[in-house]
């Protein structure tokens, strides 16, 4: 972008820059050698090329497509905002967003609380710490598709291990994946199982930056553990917590592979997430509507993450 339009060598830079008024003659740092001016552009070039070719171009293409009725072949007709109007008044679109919202509620608050609790405990113990850390990250490194398949088998209503365990303690079997009421919590459990370990690591790294003297001072002043957690740990962790919050919110609203493999969006449409609803347009070759849906989803995801980023900034 800028690499092309402006010749970098003629640009005036802010920091170790050419200052015309500074009279001191020929100090070494006054003008930067051309190579040093060009270097950063060369270094970011691979990213910029990939970005232009595989993000910007497709995005513009999607934008154009979203105003047509194209079905993948033949002529495309310009239909203005019809796709958007259709989506915004269809119950399917809103229920897919609603499903993602409910999943967010089931997952993210519980996950953050759990991650803080685990990280604080891990930080307070010495023995077995390494073992726990590994155990918590194991789910994170397992392939999602493999986990999703294991979930199908574990939570099967008639033959699954989970219902077998319930049966062993005298409880009736649950239709985990085949009733609309249970399908979402079962998917949420899969997501929690898979990603909480990573959030624990983020929180743990935040904890390690807290000055330990603070706790000593607090306990000398007679503050108990809970009090220390509330007045020192949580406020100082805010950065890590917000980072986790944004990251996990993005992940939940992009959730696709889990319902695609485990439930195919059912029963009925109870687990058709925003991402899966969008994908369904593609499988029906309803590309114009799919493109419009893409843009609406981008707007929703960006709005949500910008909101969180705003909150993060406001704290500083």
């Amino acid at each position: 972008m800028t690499t092309r339009s402006a010749s970098p060598a003629t640009k005036v830079f802010r920091e170790p820059a050419v200052e015309p008024r500074a009279r001191a003659p020929r100090r070494r740092r006054r003008t930067l050698p051309l190579r040093r001016l060009l270097a950063p552009y060369v270094f970011v070039l691979p990213f910029v090329l990939v970005f232009l070719a595989f993000s910007v171009y497709p995005l513009f293409f999607t934008l154009r497509l979203s105003f047509t009725d194209w079905h993948g072949s033949g002529a495309a007709h310009w239909i203005g905002f019809d796709n958007y109007r259709y989506l915004l008044t269809s119950s399917g679109f809103w229920s897919s967003l609603g499903n993602s919202g409910v999943l967010w509620l089931l997952i993210v608050p519980a996950q953050i609380v759990l991650a803080v609790l685990v990280a604080v405990l891990l930080n307070a113990i010495k023995r077995l710490r390494g073992f726990y850390r590994v155990a918590f990250v194991v789910p994170f490194v397992t392939p999602l598709v493999a986990v999703a398949q294991i979930w199908i088998v574990l939570f099967d209503q008639d033959n699954g291990a989970v219902n077998a365990m319930l049966g062993a303690v005298g409880l009736p079997p649950v239709g985990w994946l085949v009733t609309s009421g249970w399908a979402k919590p079962t998917l949420a459990l899969l997501f929690l199982w898979k990603t909480t370990g990573f959030v624990v690591l983020i929180v743990l790294s935040g904890l390690q930056q807290i000055d330990r003297g603070l706790y000593e001072a607090a306990s000398l002043d007679g503050a108990g553990r809970i009090r220390q957690l509330r007045t020192i740990t949580v406020p100082l962790l805010r950065r890590s917590l917000m980072f986790s919050l944004v990251l996990q919110t993005l992940a939940v609203f992009q959730m696709f592979a889990e319902p695609y493999v485990v439930t195919k969006g059912g029963p009925y449409t109870s687990t058709t997430t925003a991402g899966l609803y969008l994908y369904n347009h593609i499988t029906r070759a309803d590309l114009g509507t799919g493109a419009a849906n893409s843009f609406l989803l981008v707007i929703v995801v960006m709005a949500v993450s910008l909101l969180f980023v705003r909150l993060l900034r406001a704290e500083d």
Partner: protein, 289 residues
């Protein structure tokens, strides 16, 4: 640990902590252990008695059947090829770009970094349609290029490495510059050695992401010849959740668990061998307060 030092006289909260962590650990490891053990049981047993395991009935039948039914060997091969090529691009280009963002001031820096953040926020699924059409135009559908190039300079890797490289002291770079080191030389000989723990973490994360990638491969490499491991796996799951008619449920379940286990194992081994680097890398490259 400080809390430990202060309250050493009261070991009871620690006991509670261990109990809590142990219960969680069991819950986290159980599905994986269960799947691996069950994949060695006769298919009928997995369904009849999901909780028991009798070593006398140990069998490889599920694995044999799975190898016959799905092209898991070529799945591994395709994933391997993509892993090497895409991984090399990310591991070289992302830290290099991150170095530019962290240590140079240049016109357009914020704009280009904005592009990194934008890429980070875009759901993959959103770009799937137009990317697929782009691949069609290029004649790249069902090719390795299609699997390797899109997303090859990973935005999260740039974002993360920028934090890591920002912590490298400027004096180190200036000293190298005075010694006559070129700009790339500084990156290669000063920055890279200084951020080795972070790079090791990034390496594990990159391998994991590429190995586990699913959304794009399932669209771009739909032919069974090009299918990556995860795509091959998902076709098995479709047999079970979609059309149970025709396939014997127990057999499919057995093969499913065999396939899942075989896909789990390489990453588990890699992670256990490199876990120190991975965990320390993430801890080192975290968000600064």
């Amino acid at each position: 640990m400080t809390t430990l030092g202060v309250r050493q006289r009261k070991p009871r909260p620690l006991l509670g902590s261990h109990a809590f962590l142990l219960v969680l650990t069991v819950a986290l490891l159980a599905p994986v252990v269960w799947a691996i053990l069950s994949s060695f049981k006769p298919a009928g047993e997995i369904i009849r008695n999901p909780l028991g395991f009798d070593p006398a009935t140990f069998t490889l039948a599920n694995f044999r059947g799975m190898f016959q039914d799905v092209p898991i060997g070529s799945g591994f091969l395709n994933t391997g090829i993509v892993l090497v090529a895409k991984g090399a691009i990310t591991m070289f280009c992302a830290p290099l770009a991150a170095y530019a963002f962290a240590k140079y001031r240049f016109a357009g820096r914020n704009l280009i970094f904005g592009a990194v953040l934008l890429t980070l926020m875009l759901p993959t699924i959103v770009l799937v349609i137009p990317l697929l059409l782009e691949m069609k135009e290029l004649g790249w559908v069902n090719t390795y290029q299609a699997l390797i190039l899109p997303g090859s300079v990973d935005a999260f890797a740039i974002f993360w490495m920028r934090q890591v490289i920002a912590a490298v002291p400027d004096e180190l770079l200036d000293a190298a510059r005075v010694d006559g080191c070129g700009e790339f030389g500084i990156f290669w000989r000063v920055v890279v050695p200084a951020i080795r723990p972070g790079l090791a973490g990034l390496g594990v994360l990159t391998i994991m992401n590429i190995y586990n990638d699913f959304v794009w491969p399932v669209v771009a490499a739909s032919s069974s010849r090009m299918a990556t491991l995860q795509v091959v796996l998902s076709t098995l799951a479709q047999n079970i959740s979609g059309n149970r008619v025709g396939a014997d449920y127990a057999t499919v379940t057995g093969e499913l668990l065999a396939a899942a286990s075989i896909a789990l194992v390489p990453l588990l081994i890699l992670f256990i061998v490199l876990q120190k680097h991975f965990i320390n890398g993430i801890l080192a490259g975290s968000v600064k307060g």
